[in-house]
Amino acid sequence: MMDKMPRWADVFLVPLICLIIAFVFSGLLIWGIGQSPLQALQVMIKGAIYNPESMERTTNAWGYTLYYATNFMFTGLAVSIAFQASLFNIGGEGQATLGGLGVALSCLLIPWPHWSLALCGSIIGAMAFGAAWAFLPAWLQARRGSHIVITTMMFNFIAYALMNYVLVNMLRPVGSMDPASARFDKALNLPKLGEILGAVGIPFSTKNPANISLFIALACAVAVWALLWHTRLGYQIRAFGKSEKAAVYAGISPFKITMLALMLSGALSGMMAVNSVHGQAHRLVLNAVEGAGFIGIAVALMGRNHPFGIVLASLLFGFLYQGGSQLALGTEIPREVITVLQGLVILFTGALPYMVQRPLAWAFSRGAR
């Protein structure tokens, strides 16, 4: 029955319908608390995509949307690469937290002569620390059979406690009450998206945190695509994900694939910190990840585990996140509506896909007759 459905319907129509259902439910919720869903949508669009007042404000809104989207690209790719190996890494939150520590240590301890070198240092630090935080759960899964979902979840909490300790007792500047590190040297600040686009003659606001990391995220998406579909390792990861028994029969080592897929996943989650810690905050704060690790799950599910889909889904969630933050300013609607929407998207795309797929497949099989 399933194979009666054309591929385009499975890839585009199913996520789209899930998204529409999630939007309808959220709209009903907004309507239920006595607010106008349409007004909410207007505020969100004005704050995140198009502001009719001026071009400057429109590009600024896009800057914020793209900044958030960059975070979600990293965490979404991270979740998807583990998903390809049939491993559910919900430790993106913790891995990104540790990635932030890697970035902060690199920026604070090494006197980089130029931002570009500091950027390389940040990338290496973020990837190394993110992958290291995924190492133990990966090893426990591969060697001891400890369920990856539970261990990565535990490691999220351990990461939070560790970060709390490191910030309060080690990185906090003398005399400061904030659990946060010192600010990085201003010379290390990454070029903003507005500056880069301005240099090639495209006017774009520089008052937003979007920065060069966006291009790194896009490059990562291409790299993940190339890795998964055009290298031997990628083939092994996907084969392992489809059937562990068949993979073993084909000479693929489950230990190696589990370790590599999860550590790559951790490294990608950690990369998020290049954008948020080095690109935006310029210092390490306690809750630098702000749930982006979890949004990565929604992004990966929505993007059907394909880098191209993940980039699109990241843009969507970037819009929702930025638009949602504007709700508090323009309306009486709490921004947590976005959390509800996010939960619904995860529920319908991840847990209830058959609910949408079955009637669709039935409809297509009827149409084909």
Binding site: L29, I33, G34, Q35, F88, I90, L136, L140, R144, G145, S146, H147, V149, I150, T151, M153, M154, F155, F157, I158, A161, L162, N164, Y165, V168, N169, F294, I297, L301, E332, I333, P334, E336, V337, I338, T339, V340, L341, Q342, G343, L344, I346, L347, G350, A351, L352, P353, Y354, M355
Partner: protein, 329 residues
């Protein structure tokens, strides 16, 4: 540390263990029946929220309790639908429901009460009142000096065991009850079987779907109790995100207890004790080293990872946990 201090820590250990115990037993029923549930946190949060809201609206803690259970049951029903009926991914469903609860409680709370997501403070009959065991000193302000002066055994009785709300005692009673249901009833045998080998249960002519839904419903009721205790017993009202990861600690306790009721009690008391210590002391100076409070906070998770790693007795989950049952492949 003096005796009064120790007794106070034990007293708050019992209070803090109670929601963990409810949630842990909730997870036990679900996972023993083969349905993974990482949505304990969300169900507790939903239960805590609706319990406090209805209790405030009606002025009765009992209506609140009922509402908390209903809210949690609704979430359990969605999880059942996704995990059992539509054979979706149980882990993802749990994650989704946690988000839904986290968002819905704030959105609805903010619009109902206009307090940014919390309910108004509950007082009087809107909260569970303390129950004094026979012959125990009541925990009234004028009794405080007398309570502090008690020696070990009377102190343990009056200060630690007595003076909790009804749900604390219900939670403790749920442990032998769970044990009895699981190991001494036909329903319990079938429930455990459906988590290990659903095909065998199906062959015996018993409905796998029905059993799993029953288990998920019990999970819903127990999570509702956990939530109701949080907002109407432990605290006086609902605060946003007030579960603060307790659903995950309960899950950790469940693994720590290797999915067994009496061990669950021990694990929850241990994790409750760690919580009580972390709340009372910033860091513990042992003389030769200082244990930072962050370590105490992370200890439940670290212990769970160690148990999961199988170096100290392996934790083996129910064999068919997480797999939807498909009849006639």
């Amino acid at each position: 540390m003096d005796l009064a201090g120790v007794l106070q820590i034990l007293d708050s250990t019992i209070r803090l263990s109670t929601p963990l115990l409810f949630a842990c037993l909730a997870g036990l029923f679900s996972e023993r029946a083969g349905v993974f549930d990482i949505g304990l946190e969300g169900k507790m949060l939903a239960g805590a929220f609706l319990a406090a809201s209805v209790s405030f609206a009606t002025g009765s803690v009992w209506w609140g309790l009922l509402a908390g259970i209903v809210a949690s049951l609704l979430f359990a029903a969605v999880h059942g639908l996704a995990a059992i009926t539509f054979r979706g991914n149980q882990l993802i469903s749990g994650v989704a429901l946690n988000f839904l609860a986290s968002g819905l409680t704030v959105v609805l709370g903010a619009s109902w009460f206009g307090l940014g997501g919390q309910t108004p403070a509950l007082a009087g009959g809107m909260r569970f009142s303390a129950i004094d065991l026979p012959f125990a000193l009541a925990h009234t302000p004028e009794n405080q000096p007398a309570l502090k002066a008690l020696s070990l055994l009377p102190g343990l009785y009056s200060q630690v065991l007595s003076g909790h709300s009804i749900l604390v005692y219900v939670a403790v009673l749920c442990v032998p009850l769970t044990w009895w249901v699981l190991y001494r009833t036909r329903f319990g045998l079938r429930l455990r079987a459906v988590g290990e080998n659903p095909a065998a249960v199906d062959t015996a002519g018993v409905s796998v779907v029905g059993l799993r839904f029953a288990a998920v419903a019990i999970t819903g009721v127990l999570c509702g109790l956990a939530g109701a205790y949080l907002s109407m017993g432990l605290s006086a009202g609902f605060l946003r995100e007030m579960t603060a990861g307790r659903g995950y600690i309960a899950l950790a306790a469940l693994i720590f207890a290797k999915w067994r009721p009496w061990s669950a009690l021990l694990a929850c008391v241990l994790f409750g004790l760690l919580d009580a210590i972390a709340i009372r002391y910033q860091s513990i100076d042992l003389g030769w080293m200082v244990i930072p409070v962050q370590f105490t906070q992370a200890l439940p998770y670290i212990l769970t990872v160690i148990i999961l790693a199988g170096f100290v007795g392996k934790a083996i989950p129910p064999r068919s946990g997480g797999e939807p049952y498909v009849k006639e492949r």
